[in-house]
């Protein structure tokens, strides 16, 4: 390998990027924009579910029962309904996500100390949201039920407080680890960095080689004494540089704008991130070597990077939720390993001692991509 030739290819590529001003600007705008938009806007919290109530009882007890739901942050009371048909309609067209039905005689039963029943209808279109809503409903109902029990026991002699203590002798104290406030930007930011660094860099490189093929300028290379390896390295270098700058920008946004604590070693994080970026830009370059048209390069890159990054990187779907086949697919992508590194560095404060296997895998991945690109790229095209 000749250092000068690598530099020559790199500087040619760099100049080409610089002269395409819109592209150069987008290379920095896209990651920062995604970080800002998702940081402020992406919330997986299930809150303020629009709730309708079908109250056949219309008693003080039923109103008090509903009050427990509408007063919580989980539900937003949207009004009383006339009948089940209306409930079905509003659930269908997304005006409501939950409907509580209170049967006649509810208040009477509750007052006289008899078991009572209510019903909840949930919109199950988005199953995980329905599961969480189910959890809220169960918890709120359990509290109502317990208060009712306690009041009833109070009528038998004990004070409500004593009765409550007797009825609920075991309290569960939950401690959430790694993410003290369960819904905050803290858990999201490291994964956001992971996602952005696989969504954007492959697109920087995806057209790098195939563009020259389509334009015919690749024949300059075929006729030159630059070797395949020198050419690929030189091509990759400017994009890795751009992405490294983006790593720093994203890190700064996470730490300074969102106030996410960074507990790990910054140097280790930077090193691991650069290796990760080598992988993601490498995927783009490999695609570029393989296909013959730019259009195919874009589609292939999207399908092999963006789609898996959404589904299999642990960004919105946790890795333990993946079934065996998807689990294997997930581990064929570099994102999984980098997620562990990013989350570890930010939230857990662990470093090289705990995360060296992940770093090693990423490094191996980058080498394998390069080796594959080297094998498949040829200066002697058959056609």
């Amino acid at each position: 390998m000749n250092r000068h030739r690598i530099l020559a290819v790199a500087s040619k590529e760099w100049r080409e990027i610089l002269r395409d001003r819109l592209f150069f600007a987008l290379a920095f705008i896209v990651p920062a924009f995604l970080m800002l938009l998702f940081g402020y806007g992406l919330s997986l919290d299930v809150n303020h579910l629009p709730l309708g109530v079908l109250d056949y009882d219309r008693s003080a007890s039923s109103r008090a029962y509903i009050e427990r739901f509408s007063a919580s942050q989980y539900f937003t009371f949207k009004g009383y309904l006339c009948d089940e048909r209306q409930a079905g309609e509003l659930l269908s067209n997304n005006q409501l996500r939950a409907v509580i039905i209170i049967p006649p005689r509810f208040g009477e039963l509750v007052q006289s100390g008899q078991p009572a029943q209510t019903q909840t209808l949930l919109d199950g279109t988005f199953p995980s949201r329905a599961l969480i809503a189910k959890g809220y409903v169960t918890a709120i109902n359990a509290a109502a039920s317990l208060d009712n029990l306690a009041r009833h026991a109070g009528q038998l002699g004990a004070t409500p407080d004593e009765a409550r203590r007797a009825l609920q002798p075991v309290r569960l104290e939950v401690r959430y680890l790694y993410n003290q406030s369960i819904s905050s930007i803290w858990g999201l930011a490291p994964k956001l960095i992971m996602f952005i660094l696989i969504a954007s860099p492959p697109f920087l490189t995806a057209l790098g080689v195939v563009r020259e093929k389509e334009r015919g300028s690749i024949f300059n290379l075929y006729a030159s004494n630059t070797s395949r390896g020198e050419f690929l390295l030189g091509k990759l270098a400017p994009y890795v540089a751009i992405s490294t700058l983006n790593i720093l920008i994203l890190w700064a946004l996470a730490v300074w704008l969102y106030g996410v604590p960074f507990k790990g070693d910054p140097l280790f994080f930077l090193l691991a991130s650069v290796v990760y970026v080598l992988c993601t830009t490498g995927i783009g370059l490999l695609v570029s070597v393989l296909v013959r048209t730019q259009m195919a390069a874009m589609i292939v890159t999207l399908i092999v990077t963006l789609v898996p990054a959404i589904l299999y990187s642990g960004f919105i779907i946790p890795i333990p939720s993946l079934k065996p086949v998807a689990y294997v697919v997930a581990h064929l992508m570099p994102a999984v390993y980098y997620t562990r590194i990013a989350v570890g560095c930010f939230l857990k404060g662990v470093g090289l001692t705990a995360l060296w296997p992940e770093l090693l895998i990423l490094a191996g991945y980058a080498c394998a991509l390069f080796a594959l690109g080297y094998r498949l790229f040829t200066k002697r095209p058959s056609a």
Partner: protein, 379 residues
């Protein structure tokens, strides 16, 4: 417009449509990936994910070693939990939670049973790995259900009362449209909608910019074709391909492989998809008029696609979004498409009930198309 004009118009449309389709079909790699995306990719997404808490690895740190403590920990069972063994040291629990081998650690304090028997309130601790907040919530929610039921039974047996006579309020939850909360239905349909979105932005935009980059757009501009006649066949060709792909995915993968119900009309769903592709293609074309080469189109499409997919409402509940962002989602055609597609497939809605979504998509589509066409004319 007389008959000859109309015939000429139809002829131009046919010729241009033929050109676009031939160009698309000759790119074998591209074609292979389109087929892959509408079949294997959707199959993987639908079969590969379960968002429910599934046998979460639980560690038990039992300091009491009593009947009561064993009874409580034995209730952490399938389908939600799986006890992964007893541990004796805090550090061990910490280490296993740290490296992700366990998700929960339950600590039962010494004197647990004695407290219960004396009627003294007691507490157990649960440490939850909340790296994934949804699973963290579900785990603590199910765990508190288990402990409160356990507590109530202990109290009832201490009072000598049977559980049935207690004045409890029983809330029966029924989940509509997907009664068993099958993730495969949600994941499969969502992935299909994502793929449709990706292709309907990228394919027409790339087809347009490619002509610019190669210079063949000059030929088209000096031909007697109007800008509409240049752009329309491109969009039509892509719509045809994408709707065919959607049909393959719907009938071949989702219905056959996962028994996804089509409660409404499948034809309506495909028509809806066609309308959506048209609308979104307009967005892609508008992006294409800003770009000079395909590399710019690639970056621009990420800029459009990522927010569209994430903020469509499939992943992020619109109710939880900040108001300014929820207002912005009304500008995204995918917002309407998601509602309408799930409405037809799972809720059995018809065209009349979907007027809101249809109107929204049409308005956005017409607006961006007109804007894009004006830009082509100037360029």
């Amino acid at each position: 417009m007389n008959r000859d004009d109309l015939a000429l118009w139809a002829l131009r449309l046919r010729v241009m449509l033929g050109k676009e389709l031939r160009q698309l079909l000759r790119d074998r790699v591209l074609l292979a990936f389109i087929v892959y995306a509408f079949s294997v990719d959707i199959f993987l997404a639908a079969s590969g994910v379960s968002l429910q808490l599934n046998r979460a690895a639980t560690l038990v740190q039992d300091f009491d070693h009593s009947t009561a403590s064993r009874e409580l920990s034995s209730r952490f069972v399938s389908p939600y939990f799986r006890v992964d063994g007893q541990i004796s040291h805090d550090s061990e629990a910490q280490a296993r939670l740290d490296d992700g081998r366990a998700m929960l650690a339950l600590t039962i304090p010494p004197g647990f049973q004695a407290d219960l028997q004396r009627g003294q309130p007691t507490a157990v601790q649960l440490q939850v790995d909340a790296t994934n907040s949804v699973l963290g919530f579900l785990a603590s929610s199910y765990a508190s259900l288990i402990t409160s039921r356990f507590g109530l039974e202990q109290a009832a047996s201490a009072l000598g009362a049977s559980g049935a006579a207690l004045p409890v309020i029983d809330n029966q939850v029924r989940v509509w449209f997907n009664p068993n909360q099958l993730d495969s239905w949600f994941m499969g349909i969502t992935e299909l909608l994502n793929i449709v979105t990706v292709f309907s932005i990228l394919l027409p935009a790339a087809a347009m910019v490619r002509e610019k980059e190669r210079g063949t757009v000059e030929q088209l501009l000096v031909s007697p074709l109007s800008p509409f006649q240049i752009v329309f066949p491109k969009v039509l060709a892509m719509t045809l391909v994408i709707v065919l792909g959607s049909a393959l995915a719907l009938f071949g993968v989702l219905q056959l492989g996962f028994a996804v119900p089509v409660r409404g009309s499948a034809v309506l769903f495909l028509l809806l998809t066609a309308l959506y592709v048209f609308t979104t293609a307009g967005l892609g074309l508008a992006a294409a008029t800003l770009a000079r080469n395909l590399a710019q189109v690639g970056m621009l499409s990420i800029l459009i696609l990522a927010p569209m997919i994430f903020l469509s409402g499939a992943w992020t509940p619109p109710e939880a979004m900040p108001a300014w962002l929820r207002a912005l989602t009304y500008l995204s055609p995918m917002h309407y498409y998601i509602d309408a597609a799930f409405g037809v497939l799972l809720k059995g809605q018809g065209a009349l009930e979907l007027w809101r979504s249809l109107l929204g998509m049409t308005l956005i589509g017409v607006t961006v198309f007109v804007w894009g066409l004006r830009r082509v004319r100037m360029g």
